[in-house]
Structure formats: structure tokens, C-alpha cells
């Protein structure tokens, strides 16, 4: 392609944007509305997932050893457990440490008063591993594995929490996938209609170009550039709105509901946009590209 043709094509793409102002506005508004809804749902779902994930990460199981297990064997067992993919973190708690923790948790300020009743460590022989999971739904598999290791006496678990959390997370994933799927289908339908109307206005121009001897590329390129620009602008508008809206809401919640913000860990704007920004731009540009490319294609066989 000649350089002059390249610049002409780019220029025509931009000229088309302004030449068909109402069509451009309608297309930008359609993409912006769909991606705004997508962004809002994503922000809600991402926060839920983040909160659930935080709670999940706090769920642990405790591994106790058969009486008389040597320190070396405990270390070996620790390595075996740490090697599992579902394990996020592993802490060794000696029986002395366990007794100290117990005293702090249950005796509080009256340690000296209560400790008199325990001349020796009542938790002696209760060395253990605290195992934190990366995925709570795999707790049962991990426990089965740990219980099969020689030297392991028993494993204390928190079945109720694990099942509730993984069930809730699964439900949330299905609901979010469903909502996002419906939103994308609606936006593709709306955008396809808008592009079809825009193209039908310029069907005559495409026909003339084809009769004169324009290649498919030459006919298609300005429309595709126009579609991509519409997608880009259409994606940028909701991103700016959501950025400002989310910052305000987050600030309001943290400022006015201290209890809630301490209990739940909300995503920061930066963390939210780490995924939302590229995905919105890709979806916007992608819809603009595919919408214009495929719709022009139907009119090229002249």
C-alpha cells in the first residue's frame, strides 16, 4: 500500500466520524452504555470475589503428629505438605508455642493466676502445622493426602466454613458469568444494529467505490478505522465515569461506615482498573472492529 493511500485511509476514517455525527453518537452511546453496565457489574463482582478470597485465605487446617515423631520427620512432613499446589502457606507451631498462644488467647491479664494450676505444659506433644489453603474447595483432597502420610496422627478441619465459602464463590462465579454474558450479547446485538444502519446510509458510496475498481481493503479500511475509534471512545467514557464514581463511593464507605470497611476489604481503584481498563478497551475496540469489518463485508460482493 502506498503511503499516501495509508494516510488517506486514516483521514477518511476520521472524516467519516464527523460526517455521520448522529450515527457516530448513537454508536458511541451504545458501546458506552453497555460497557458502563459491564464495568459496574464487574466492580461489584470483583469486590465480592476479593472479599471472599480474603476470608478463604484465613481458613486453615491443623496437622498433628503421632506421639514420638522426631523433629526430622516433622520437617519432612512439612516439605511434603508445602509441595502441594492447594497450599498457600504453612506454619510450624511447636508445643511450647501452642501453649504460649493458648495462654495469651484465653488467660489474658490473669496469666500468672491461672498458670499456677499447670506445672507442666499440658499441650506437650501437640506440635503441629497450620496449613493455609489457596483454594478452600480443595480442602478435602488435601486432608486425604495429609492423613495418608506416615507420622500424621489427625487433621483438624473447618468443614463448615470451607463448604459455605466455596459454595458461595461458585454461585457468584456462575451469576457473574451469566450477567456478563447477557450484557455482552445485548451490546453485540445493539452495536450490530447501529453499524448496519450506519452502513446502509453509505451503501451507495460502497457500491460506487466497487464499480470504480476499489479493492476490498480500500473500501473496508476507513469503516474499520471509524469502528475502532467509536469503540475506543465508547469504552473510554464509562471508564472515566466508573473511575470517578468508584473513588467517591469507596471514600464515602470508608469515611461513613468504619465498621464495614474494617470487616470487609474492598478493592482499591488501581486494583479494580488493573483488569477493567484493558478488558473494557479490548472489548470496545474489538466490538467496533468486528462490527464494522463484518457489516462492510456483506456489502463488498458488488
Amino acid at each position: 500500500m502506498k503511503i499516501s493511500t495509508f494516510f488517506y485511509t486514516i483521514k477518511q476514517g476520521f472524516v467519516n466520524l464527523f460526517r455521520n455525527k448522529w450515527y457516530t453518537l448513537a454508536s458511541v452511546a451504545t458501546i458506552a452504555a453497555c460497557l458502563f453496565l459491564f464495568g459496574v457489574f464487574y466492580a461489584i463482582i470483583a469486590n465480592f470475589t476479593h472479599i471472599v478470597k480474603n476470608v478463604e485465605e484465613g481458613v486453615s487446617i491443623t496437622v498433628f503428629f503421632v506421639e514420638g515423631t522426631t523433629d526430622e520427620r516433622m520437617e519432612e512432613i512439612g516439605k511434603l505438605i508445602a509441595g502441594r499446589s492447594e497450599v498457600a502457606d504453612l506454619n510450624f507451631v511447636s508445643d511450647e508455642q501452642a501453649w504460649e498462644d493458648y495462654q495469651q488467647d484465653y488467660f489474658g491479664d490473669k496469666v500468672d493466676e491461672f498458670i499456677a494450676g499447670y506445672p507442666t505444659n499440658p499441650l506437650e506433644g501437640f506440635d503441629n502445622y497450620e496449613v493455609y489453603l489457596s483454594d478452600v474447595s480443595k480442602q478435602a483432597d488435601l486432608i486425604a493426602f495429609i492423613e495418608s502420610i506416615e507420622g500424621v496422627d489427625f487433621v483438624r478441619r473447618e468443614d463448615g466454613v470451607a463448604e459455605t465459602l466455596s459454595g458461595f464463590n461458585l454461585l457468584l462465579s456462575y451469576v457473574s458469568l451469566g450477567i456478563i454474558g447477557i450484557l455482552l450479547a445485548v451490546s453485540v446485538f445493539l452495536i450490530s444494529n447501529t453499524v448496519t444502519i450506519g452502513i446502509s446510509v453509505r451503501k451507495e458510496e460502497i457500491n460506487i467505490m466497487k464499480y470504480i475498481g476499489a479493492t476490498d481493503f480500500f473500501v473496508r479500511a476507513p469503516f474499520v478505522i471509524e469502528g475502532v475509534m467509536i469503540g475506543l471512545v465508547g469504552a473510554s467514557i464509562p471508564l472515566v465515569i466508573i473511575y470517578n464514581m468508584y473513588s467517591v463511593v469507596l471514600e464515602y464507605v470508608v469515611g461513613n461506615f468504619e465498621m464495614l470497611s474494617q470487616l470487609l476489604d474492598f478493592l482499591s481503584v488501581a486494583a479494580l482498573f488493573e483488569f477493567l481498563l484493558p478488558i473494557s478497551l479490548i472489548v470496545g475496540v474489538g466490538i467496533g472492529f468486528i462490527g464494522s469489518y463484518s457489516t462492510v463485508r456483506k456489502h463488498l460482493h458488488v
Binding site: 499516501s4 460526517r19 451507495e204 470504480i212 475498481g213 476499489a214
Partner: protein, 247 residues
């Protein structure tokens, strides 16, 4: 000699022997009804001026669309400038069409652009450099008598002037063949004659001109080759012919 040069020579030889436009027993049927063209054969030599006449449904428009390679013949062969259009691949069509100039009854101009832009558009489409466009467009506008109106929007022009813009657009890429489908259909007699005079001048400069028309007065006055079609077949093909009525 390269393969491309050999093919070009073969096409030139074909044109010398069979004409610039050559139809061999061509039929075209649509999904319903009787065939639009039925066993049509004809040959048009380089530099000829030919009228194709006939009533509605006689097959004239189908013939033009076959020559543009907008349609493909159901049977038989259509040759234009040595290209067998039945065998032309989709990606070869744009280059082939650059040999043709086309003018329609309804002008088909881009009404959101001015006269200059409409003509320059035809050169842009075939990727002519900007410097050449700036030289060629005023020259062709002068040929059709619109040099002074290059800035005017097409909607501000009369029917005759709009058809001149369409002619300038069809000619600016110097096609070997000019196809005119009812070029005077929307014009008054005065403008019709002016357009026909222009077509004659274009033909005298070497371009082969094929005009589909209903205009009996013009056909009878111009004394050119007249091909008369009826119900998809050629019923008469005469040099210096006249418009033959249905009955």
C-alpha cells in the same frame, strides 16, 4: 518474457481477433422466471460506439451487469478486454473494473462532497498519487465543461451538470470502455443532446462507448451501431441502425 507479459499478449491477441467485448452464446437465469438473457452472442471492437436498445425486461441491464462482472453468466462466455469474466477471481475484479467507466441514469454521486471531490474520489480509489490527482481532475472537469464549478456541491447542480460530473468521474481514470446505463433517462432533451455529444467526443478520442437507452430520437439521429434486444435475445444488430419498436 514473464508470465504476466505473456498473459497480456494473449489478451491483446484475443481482442484483435474477437473484439474488446465478446459474448459467446451467453445465457443468464435468475432463480425464478424465464432467462434474462438467452444465448446472446455479440462482439464490439475497440473504438466502437454502440447503442443497446429494448423495452423493460429485454435483458439490457443484465447485459451491463455481466460486463461489469457484477453477475456471472449461467452459461456461455463473457470476454472483456481479453479477460474471461467467468474465470475472474474475486480479488481480480477491482483491477479489471479499472478498465471500465460507468455512468448511471441516477448519476450516483456522493452528495455530501463537491464536484472536485467526487471526481478526485475515483482517482483516490485506484490509488493515484495526490500530485497527479490535482493535475488530472481540473483537466477532465474542463473536458466536460465544469471547470468553473469544481467547488459546487452536487445538489446545487442541474441534472445535466450532475451527469457531466458522473461522466468526468467515469473518465478520469482513462478507461478503455465507457458503459452508460440510460445516461439521459433523467434529463430534458437539451441536456440529453449535450451528454450524447460529449459521449461522441469521448468515443472519437478512442474510448469504446456502449450506451443502453430508451431514447428513440437520439438513437435514430446519431446513426451508430444499434443492438436491439427483446425478451433476452438480440433481434437486430445493425451498423447505422434505428430504434425498432416492439410491434
Amino acid at each position: 518474457m514473464t508470465r504476466r507479459e505473456r498473459k497480456k499478449l494473449q489478451r491483446e491477441e484475443f481482442v484483435r481477433e474477437n473484439g474488446l467485448i465478446c459474448l459467446e452464446n451467453v445465457s443468464k437465469s435468475y432463480s425464478t422466471g424465464s432467462p434474462a438473457l438467452n444465448g446472446v452472442s455479440l462482439s464490439i471492437k475497440p473504438g466502437e460506439f454502440v447503442f443497446i436498445v429494448g423495452d423493460s425486461g429485454s435483458g439490457k441491464s443484465t447485459l451491463i451487469r455481466l460486463l461489469l462482472r457484477e453477475l456471472i453468466a449461467t452459461s456461455g462466455n463473457v470476454w472483456v478486454k481479453g479477460h474471461n469474466l467467468n474465470k475472474l477471481r474475486h480479488r481480480e475484479i477491482p483491477k479489471f473494473r479499472r478498465n471500465l467507466g460507468i455512468v448511471f441514469q441516477d448519476f450516483r454521486l456522493l452528495n455530501d462532497r463537491n464536484v472536485y471531490e467526487n471526481v478526485a474520489f475515483a482517482q483516490r480509489v485506484v490509488q493515484v498519487p495526490g500530485r497527479e490527482i490535482r493535475r488530472n481532475v481540473p483537466s477532465i472537469l474542463a473536458t466536460v465543461g465544469l471547470a468553473g464549478k469544481y467547488k459546487a456541491k452536487t445538489k446545487q447542480l442541474s441534472g445535466g451538470e450532475q451527469q457531466r460530473v458522473a461522466l468526468a468521474r467515469a473518465l478520469v481514470n482513462r478507461p478503455s470502455i465507457l458503459l452508460a446505463d440510460e445516461p439521459t433517462g433523467n434529463l430534458d432533451p437539451k441536456n440529453s443532446w449535450e451528454i450524447m455529444k460529449l459521449l461522441e467526443e469521448i468515443n472519437e478520442s478512442g474510448t469504446t462507448v456502449v450506451v443502453v437507452t430508451h431514447n428513440r430520437e437520439i438513437v435514430n439521429a446519431m446513426q451508430k451501431r444499434v443492438i436491439t434486444m427483446r425478451k433476452g435475445v438480440i433481434i437486430s444488430d445493425e451498423e447505422g441502425g434505428i430504434y425498432i419498436d416492439e410491434d
